[in-house]
């Protein structure tokens, strides 16, 4: 059984922090579909339309019938561990630093024989489940885990390297005012986070979360206003070197599209908070976090953005807010590229309409704070890049993938006036 991960001792200030290294990033184009599935935690393999064979590794043609109509389908991840070995050293720096490393071969129930990483709790000749996870290069790798969960199985070093688990980590939530902040802080602490820092803007006026946050042990409320560069820089100066996960939930939202507003005032606030806020945070916290992705048990692991699902396709009832989120989503993609070499993961959590004052006129279902917290925790645990929180977010995703123009047309219906 996996030994529980112990809280790391204080760092020796005379020792150089470990330099981030990463596993090989190169993949074939066909293989990137596996990465796309891993980005949202799915186990998908190529299935040949012609002969129905499931194949791995990904190729451009079916290795059974040379057919080229290959679909990526979610398939059963179950299989049987046939053989395993422990790699003691490697020519690749990343594995060399992390040796020993278990590898093995698994016969999947759906057919293919795969070579993959092996969780420490797997025994030879046993049934296993194969996870499709992103590694520090942001590429899909497969790891076999036991079918039965054990208490500390997330602490397995090979599995932990493929996740951004909050255990023992120090996490910054950027907006104390957001209705989801207490639920997020609670969930992170329950998952073993060492400290939850919470940024609070405008402490000169009261807000409804203050008492809830003050009552939680290991929560530190600190001044932070993402619209104020000096405030962001100040907090980064104080805690930037020990921020392992940053969750940006700062949000400015007002209903309305272009014509229902007479000016650009709220739109400016939306861009200041939702878009430029992310940029300010990234400029202040990003470099420090990128430098600390190999810094032991509480290394920097993930950057989390909570976005509106309408970032994908605008809903004119919240037209200007949607537009600001589209900009933010695009910026998060730039950050993915800029963070990639360090191994710092950018996770976007797309959320449908939330249960709050600004969405009061909308019919249910609406996303509760607890659901956002669960999505964030699941995403960190599984090392995801894209998380869809709530039925509406998932529905928008599916329709967007099916036909973005059809979705746009559906979202922009007119009404028959008198």
């Amino acid at each position: 059984m996996t030994e529980p991960l112990t809280f790391p001792p204080k760092k020796d200030p005379q020792k150089r922090s470990a330099t981030p290294t990463r596993p090989p990033e190169a993949r074939s184009r066909a293989s990137l579909a596996l990465t796309a599935a891993a980005a949202e935690g799915r186990f998908a393999l190529q299935v040949c339309d012609e002969c129905q064979i499931v194949q791995y590794p990904p190729r451009d043609a079916c290795m059974n019938c040379i057919g080229t109509d290959l679909r990526w389908n979610d398939v059963s991840p179950k299989g049987h561990l046939l053989a395993e070995t422990t790699v003691q050293t490697s020519t690749k720096l990343f594995f060399r630093e992390r040796a020993p490393w278990r590898m093995g071969s698994v016969k999947l129930d759906v057919g293919p024989l795969i070579l993959c990483h092996i969780h420490g709790d797997c025994t030879r000749d046993s049934a296993v489940k194969v996870l499709n996870r992103l590694d520090k290069s942001g590429q899909a790798v497969l790891i076999a885990i036991p079918l039965e969960r054990s208490d500390h199985m997330d602490d397995d070093p090979q599995l932990r390297a493929l996740s951004a688990h909050p255990k023992h980590r120090r996490i910054l939530i950027t907006d104390a005012w957001n209705p989801n902040t207490p639920a997020l802080a609670r969930a992170l602490l329950d998952a073993g986070a060492a400290t939850v820092f919470v940024g609070e803007a405008e402490s000169w006026r009261p807000h409804p979360n203050r008492d809830a946050l003050a009552s939680m042990a290991n929560v530190e409320v600190l001044p932070l206003d993402v619209t104020d560069t000096s405030s962001v820089q100040k907090l980064a100066g104080e805690i930037g070197g020990k921020t392992d996960i940053l969750i940006n939930n700062a949000r400015f939202l007002r209903p309305g599209g272009v014509l229902s507003r007479g000016d650009t005032g709220f739109a400016r606030d939306e861009m200041e908070v939702n878009y430029l806020g992310l940029m300010r945070l990234a400029q202040a916290f990003g470099p420090g976090m990128c430098a600390r992705t190999a810094d032991g048990v509480n290394s920097a692991a993930a950057w989390v953005n909570i976005l509106s699902a309408y970032a994908l396709s605008n809903t004119p009832e919240y037209g200007c807010y949607s537009a600001s989120n589209a900009a933010t989503y695009s910026l998060s993609q730039s950050l993915r590229g800029e963070f990639r070499s360090s191994g710092l993961r950018v996770m976007n959590v797309f959320v449908g309409p939330t249960e709050d004052d600004w969405h009061a006129p909308l019919p249910p279902p609406k996303v509760l704070p607890q659901s956002v917290a669960r999505s964030v925790l699941d995403g960190l645990n599984d090392g995801l890049e894209d998380v869809w929180c709530g039925d509406i977010a998932k529905d928008i995703r599916d329709r967007w993938r099916k036909n973005a123009k059809v979705l746009e047309r559906e979202m922009t219906f007119g009404s028959d006036g008198a």
């Binding site: 405008e202 000169w204 006026r205 009261p206 001044p223 206003d225 560069t229 000016d263 005032g265 004052d357």
Partner: protein, 257 residues
């Protein structure tokens, strides 16, 4: 010696002191808070353009974002609907002589220490006049509450039923305008009206009556405890903003001492 030369000499010798009645423009200084569906007052923000670096090697400068009504600021008549048709009602049109003039200070600090919602009343003004003489025409009247010594949440003093801070009641502000023909009215709080001023008839009486009568407002003032009750001169010139309804400004007072 000319008047101005003797003034300069007195300033140099310390016979006339300059008092700064201004708060520092700081991103974290409170602004007035309206219900969130209304447009909001921009906070003070400062973005570096360059700081002797690759963005500009030998110079440092900033871009600012702020409202006409951020920080220590001046309210022009056009700020309020009652003053929308007042001639020369915007900051760029106000005659210059309005910006320099005599000032009296009514000390309400003792009452404000006991009661967050302290009202300036006609009775309080008359009591003050009994001691210091009748308020002359064309004078700035400042309400001292020592509110500027508060910081953080205590300044706005926002509760579930809104902010709580001292201010004039409708009768008092009308008395100052109609019976004393003052130049303007200034406070240490975030507005010329009391925190609960929305609940008077009319709502926000200081704004309503002052600006309707072409008078001016000053708010978020500091250091009023350093001014004498009478005898000081106030220098309060807003920025010359086209059609501006107000302006952050440096408010100075000259006192003989």
């Amino acid at each position: 010696m000319s008047t101005l030369h003797s003034l300069a000499t007195d300033i140099a010798l310390g016979n006339v002191k300059i008092i700064d009645l201004t708060h520092t423009l700081d991103p974290d200084f409170p602004v007035i808070i309206l219900p969130p569906e209304f447009g909001q007052c921009a906070r003070f923000r400062m973005e570096e353009i360059s700081a002797y670096d690759h963005r500009g090697p030998a110079w440092k400068w900033h871009n600012l974002t702020l409202s006409e009504h951020t920080g220590t600021h001046f309210d022009a008549p056009s700020h309020w609907i009652s003053g929308r048709d007042v001639p020369n009602g915007s900051v760029d049109e106000i005659p210059l002589d309005a910006f320099v003039g005599p000032v009296v200070v009514i000390d309400c600090s003792e009452g404000a220490a006991q009661n967050d919602d302290l009202e300036l009343t006609v009775e309080a003004i008359e009591n003050w006049e009994a001691e210091h003489g009748k308020i002359p025409t064309g004078t700035w009247v400042l309400m001292r509450t020592d509110w500027s010594k508060r910081s953080g949440a205590a300044y706005l003093n926002m509760r579930k039923d809104g902010p709580h801070s001292p201010g004039p009641n409708p009768e008092a502000i009308q008395f100052l305008i109609n019976e004393r023909n003052i130049r303007g009215f200034g406070t240490e709080t975030v507005g010329t009206d009391a925190g609960q001023g929305a609940h008077y008839v009319p709502p926000y009486p200081a704004h309503y009556f002052l600006h309707g009568a072409g008078k001016y407002g000053l708010q978020c003032l500091a250091n009023l405890d350093q001014l004498p009750p009478t005898g000081a001169i106030l220098l309060a010139a807003p920025l010359k903003i086209k059609n501006g309804t107000g302006s952050p400004l440096r408010v100075l007072a000259m006192i003989e001492g």
